[in-house]
Subunit: 356 residues, 2 copies
């Protein structure tokens, strides 16, 4: 599939409030050729968000962006209030009118909007609502035949940086000449990779099947290994079923534990987070009932701590588990990748003697 | 809510192929006043299926059934081939025309069929597609405030008899003067109880929320205890996420382990079933990370074994776990209920010191 050339729609919001857009620019497989934000028109991306190191122009409208030959309009940020305001709608229609693909992470499906749907038909423009899962089969077990080792990110909570860790490790792998395929399971990861399924939107009976299909698709890209984006947390009172869906459906050979040590309670609940030891034990014990997988390393999210405190916490994670541990954002992903990579080898699922 | 008076549609299939219909007649809160099966018209239910001990008439058509003043038509069995044949469609339309509610467990939603939907509007007939989940909120934690003790059925596989065990225990409880509310989580359970949510059809992010809502509804019925129908199995490669959704969402105070000892592999997969000890350990360890719950007893499904072999297997389950064990279908539910009931008391969820 040819790479997309994105124009990103983020009117008034690009600098502050567009984390998905930043992720796509920083990690994306596809190229961002322009950003629409009238408030910053005339600047470059690096002027608005220095760490992104991109010279893509910021323009005032989709019409202006066409000079940079985009193939797709990306709506990666939700407008305040949830509903698309009139000026955003006009820009989406302008993009459809120019035959651009619309890639949307909005809660309300672009394809379900009668005006957008009619315009897309009239102009043969494709609409990809990334939150809308495709039809997937039930779990088949085909994932057990995938040749490349599979590593799944698991965590002590949701929103601790599991996606970023896997993207950083994939980058480190590439520097070692290893083709690590990032397998996206959530909205931002999907926009970054340009493919994937939002597993938390799949009907619960099919969440394992969707997870399996994601790994099968990653496998078709002939990688040396597959790094599966994680979701939720195994003792998350609301989202743990999605986590388990990935553990059984993606059928990992190894786990990468991502921990924000500053969390003491899960998400919005009172449920305490688990200790390093409890996390390793719980994740491994559950995997052991279907296909064994061990935790290969621990990535800490020490954002907000001093370098000294971060090093202490990393040392503690290592001391309590014996596992390699690091913060791949603060200290770079190379060291953790080098420690984890030798542990990536295929494991077999359990199999009953009677049917084997 | 007034009780329904069901006419059950099962043309040509009532005796052999209508397990949901049998469940509704045997255990239902609502009354079955007639069955439509032209092949057995003139017989009574007990003639076709002796164990049901019901004198409800079997008639040739919905039109004939109206003499018994039904309020609702129940379609509890899927026609061969999956699609509704013409003569079934005519009977459904006849029921709608008579103003009956349509209660359907079919995969294809009756309410999504334009002809049925139009007829229902014209005759003010209600359609309840029980597989179609309602809109539910995310998990809130409100279930932790439920006053009645909650017991959840968990198992060594799907389709081992978890629903039947809970219905039998509810019946035994009633004989002790204890009001045990059966909380349905799957299609047949919903038809039997007349309410509930098919949790396996809910979007995966919401499966805990749906499970919580079921328990909250059961609680509003002022029971002495709540017996939650289980689904799947904790090491089911496809359905374990639904199982975990019930474990965290229904927030049980106790677990009732249902085991078919004849199973050696899970469902259609090669994954070996877990031993009694592994099952107790795995279920309790996972519950312990959010809200602790212990296995209160083991219900065995010894169907197909001799009485002697059944007794041996029950003794083995007890010896390996120290827990009360019995087959509530073969030997009646009284003994297991008497052993389990004293263990039903409220437990608190874990709670973090920082937020408590």
């Amino acid at each position: 599939m040819p790479k997309r050339r994105y124009v990103i729609l983020a009117p008034g919001e690009f600098a502050q409030n567009a984390k998905t857009a930043h992720g796509v620019i920083a990690y994306g497989n596809d190229e961002t050729v322009a950003v629409v934000d009238p408030a910053r028109a005339g600047q470059r991306v690096r002027d608005a968000v220095p760490y992104l190191r991109s010279d893509a122009p910021i323009v005032a409208s989709v019409a202006e962006s066409l000079a940079y030959k985009p193939t797709s309009l990306l709506i990666g940020t939700a407008p305040k209030g949830g509903k698309l305001p009139a000026d955003w709608r006009a820009e989406v229609l302008a993009a459809i009118g120019a035959g651009l693909e619309i890639v949307s992470g909005l809660h309300d499906m672009i394809g379900d909007d009668p005006d957008f749907a009619a315009a897309a038909r009239a102009h043969s423009a494709n609409i990809w609502d990334v939150r809308k899962p495709p039809e997937v089969p039930l779990f088949t077990g085909a994932v057990y035949g995938v040749a490349a080792p599979i590593m799944l990110a698991v965590g002590n909570d949701c929103a601790v940086g599991k996606m970023t860790v896997m993207l950083e490790l994939a980058r480190a792998a590439a520097e070692h000449g290893t083709r690590a395929e990032f397998a996206p399971t959530g909205q931002t990861g999907i926009m970054i990779a340009g493919w994937g399924i939002a597993v938390d939107r799949v009907i619960s009976d099919f969440v394992t099947g969707a997870s399996e299909q994601i790994v099968l698709e990653a496998s078709r890209r002939n990688p040396d290994c597959i790094l599966v984006e994680g979701q939720g947390g195994i003792n998350h009172p609301a989202y743990a079923p999605v986590t388990l869906g990935l553990m059984f459906g993606a059928a990992p050979d190894a786990l990468l534990l991502v921990v924000d040590p500053k969390r003491t309670a899960i998400d919005v609940y009172d449920t305490p987070t688990l200790s390093y030891g409890e996390l390793v034990e719980t994740y491994e014990a559950i995997c052991a009932t279907v296909k064994p997988a061990k935790v290969a390393g621990i990535a800490l999210n020490t954002h907000g701590l001093s370098d000294e405190r971060a090093r202490e916490e990393i040392a503690r994670a290592h001391a309590e588990t014996g596992l390699p541990a690091d913060d791949v954002v603060r200290f770079g992903p190379q060291k953790l990748w080098s420690a984890v990579a030798p542990q990536l080898h295929k494991r077999a699922p359990l199999s009953a003697e009677v049917t084997a």
